[in-house]
């Protein structure tokens, strides 16, 4: 009797969690657009965690490498969104989600690091790994900004670097075409089993095997109507809803910051022009004046002076950018932290309830009951 009561209680609590999570209108709306894609059996879902901003550990390198830490952290949130948009537009993938942290159970995960972003060059290291542990690609994509002014309209952060995202999308699609449907199916199965074994290890730990090269192989799959699996899928979809809400926050964030970020890039472009002018000035005729003459001394001093003024103006603009976007960034980070906290708390509870349910459902009744 006690067993049945506990079982019912656990089920009810679990469903209450799931229903509570799915009830807000915002979640339902994003679910309609994004989770629908997961029903396509052949399209892989893609997860793009916020990029590693590539900030050097040594703060004394910031100026030399032209790294503005706060702006880098913002770029690390904006760039995955741009990659996501490109992948969605390619119509080759299932749901493409930007997340705040890596997810080992993701069907295909794109881990990015900003190697260089100085207004003129963007170097992005992208590592694409599937749920089975296979690395699809691991390379640095590099592009120089074109000379055309940034697009005045539109909500994309950096259109002059669009080519980099397109190139990543093309290379990923090429790998996807090579591996075939069986491999895709295996990745999807591995992903689900990984997720299931994280949430209910007792029930699902025996379905996967790690082979010598570190990759995972699905040994077997539970029946489609396995009640534990159905629960896992329900929870996973609920978690996707939360993730999609976080993702929607990134979209808002991108829209809010796009205008200011465009102005920042415009200034970076101007700074580059000034730097080019400084170089031409330094190489100019006055530089050939008689050594030690007033013209020569003045020229050397001015060349350095203009160079420093340009660098200091760039630093000032970075501070102005930070000031302007601080409130938006803070609000976004706060909201995302709330949502993440909710998911983490929920996961702990789901984990506990699933383990409890599994025990209840698999324990043989004691004799005499």
């Amino acid at each position: 009797m006690t067993v049945h009561v506990n079982c019912r209680l656990a089920r009810a609590t679990l469903m209450a969690f799931v229903v509570a999570a799915a009830s807000p209108a915002a979640l339902a709306q994003s679910a309609a657009t994004l989770v629908a894609a997961t029903s396509d059996g052949t399209a892989l879902n893609v997860t793009i965690p916020v990029f590693d901003p590539g900030i050097p550990d040594d703060p004394s390198m910031f100026r030399e490498l032209q790294v503005f830490p706060r702006i880098r952290r913002i770029e690390a949130k904006l760039m995955p969104f741009l990659l996501r948009e490109t992948l969605v537009e390619s119509e080759q993938w299932g749901a493409v989600r930007v997340t705040t942290k890596p997810d080992a159970a993701a069907e295909l995960q794109l881990l990015g690091t900003i190697v260089r972003s100085d207004g003129e060059w963007l170097d992005l290291r992208i590592r694409a790994v599937d749920a089975a542990g296979y690395t699809w690609l691991d390379k640095v994509f590099s592009r120089q900004a074109n000379d055309e002014p940034a697009t005045p309209l539109g909500d994309k952060g950096m259109p002059e670097f669009q080519e980099i995202y397109t190139e990543i999308a093309v290379e990923l699609a090429a790998v996807r075409d090579r591996i075939g449907e069986a491999a895709v199916s295996n990745i999807k199965g591995t992903s689900l089993m990984l997720y299931a074994s994280e949430l209910a290890p007792t029930a699902f730990s025996g379905y996967l095997e790690q082979i010598d090269d570190g990759t995972l192989r699905v040994l077997r799959l539970p029946a489609r109507d396995d009640p534990m699996l159905i629960r896992i899928e329900t929870i996973r979809n609920t978690e996707f809803l939360i993730t999609d809400t976080v993702d929607a926050k990134f979209r808002e964030f991108n829209t809010d910051l796009a205008r200011t970020y465009r102005v920042w890039r415009e200034y970076r472009r101007k700074v580059r022009d000034y730097e080019a002018w400084n170089t031409r000035f330094a190489e100019g005729e006055a530089g050939n004046a008689e050594r030690g003459s007033w013209e020569s001394i003045r020229h050397h001093y001015d060349a350095y002076k203009y160079d420093r003024i340009t660098a200091q103006e760039r630093d000032r603009l970075a501070v102005a950018f930070n000031t302007e976007v601080a409130s938006t960034v803070d609000a976004m980070e706060k909201r995302v932290a709330e949502l993440n906290g909710w998911v983490e708390n929920g996961s702990r509870e789901w984990h506990r309830l699933l383990e409890e349910l599994y025990e209840v459902e698999t324990t043989l009744p004691a004799q005499g009951n």
Partner: protein, 254 residues
């Protein structure tokens, strides 16, 4: 002796600035030793002009920065050197050097004069600003000067971080509580600024020296600044990127 300079822990007089630009120090032996080292280095800088920006000892400090220069500073013209007078003194010193052992009025040669004058003009140009704004954090000092670039001294873990570009080098160091900023430019041109604050923190002395491989001697001026208090304005302002400077009479939030 300059009356306003009495609060400084060192002699404020800079009568003839050749061959050493450093004020005579009369503290402990170690201070004398440091000064001698620096003097020797500066002499070498004027003669051989190797690519040594600062002697290693001056590039480090432990704990807090040895002095706090932050604030607004207004030129004290009464106490500061008159650049024309400094130039005349330098010509006189050159003349004495050239006429050693001979009678008559010491006269610098036309060649020496023409080689020193550009340095004097440079020093005049870069010390023209009558106001300095200095901001200081735990690891950085920024000296803002009107119509010129800001001098920046960055220290990470007490170690000076040089600025190095195709157009020149900039590095800072400390000699006790004196901040030294050295700028090196092509063709052996070098500008050194030394900052020292008075004990009561009301006065700032900035000694600026220019040297070059072609000039017969360094050229140095000593300028004094009074601390001024700027009252907070009626408006609170912040710099933004797309809206430029944004001001408000109340609390400012974007």
């Amino acid at each position: 002796m300059l009356a306003n300079a009495l609060e400084f822990p060192v002699s404020a007089t800079t009568p003839v600035r050749y061959p050493t630009i450093l004020p005579i120090r009369n503290h402990s032996n170690s201070h004398c030793f440091t000064s001698l080292l620096l003097a020797a280095w500066l002499c070498l800088a004027g003669c051989a002009h190797e690519e040594v920006l600062l002697i290693e000892d001056t590039k480090y400090f432990e704990g807090d920065m040895p002095a706090d220069f932050s604030g607004y500073w207004q030129r004290d013209y009464a106490s500061s050197d008159n650049i024309n007078q400094v130039l005349q003194n330098a010509y006189y010193a050159l003349g004495r050097k050239n006429n050693r052992g001979r009678s008559g009025i010491p006269m610098a040669s036309e060649r020496d004069r023409s080689k020193l004058l550009p340095l004097a003009r440079l020093v005049e140009l870069i010390t023209r600003t009558d106001e300095l704004t200095i901001s200081q954090t735990d690891h950085e000092i920024l000296v803002e000067r009107r119509d010129d670039f800001s001098l920046m001294c960055a220290f990470f873990d007490g170690v000076a971080k040089p600025i190095d570009s195709a157009f020149g080098k900039e590095v800072c160091g400390w000699d006790e509580d004196r901040l030294i900023s050295v700028n090196d430019f092509p063709d052996g041109l070098r500008v050194i600024h030394q900052f020292q604050i008075s004990a009561d923190r009301k006065q700032l002395r900035v000694i600026t020296t220019a040297t070059s491989k072609t000039a017969p001697m360094p050229f140095t001026v000593s300028l004094y600044y009074w601390r001024i208090e700027k009252r907070p304005g009626r408006f609170a302002c912040i710099e933004t990127l797309s809206m430029k400077r944004v001001c408000s009479t109340g609390e400012l939030t974007l």
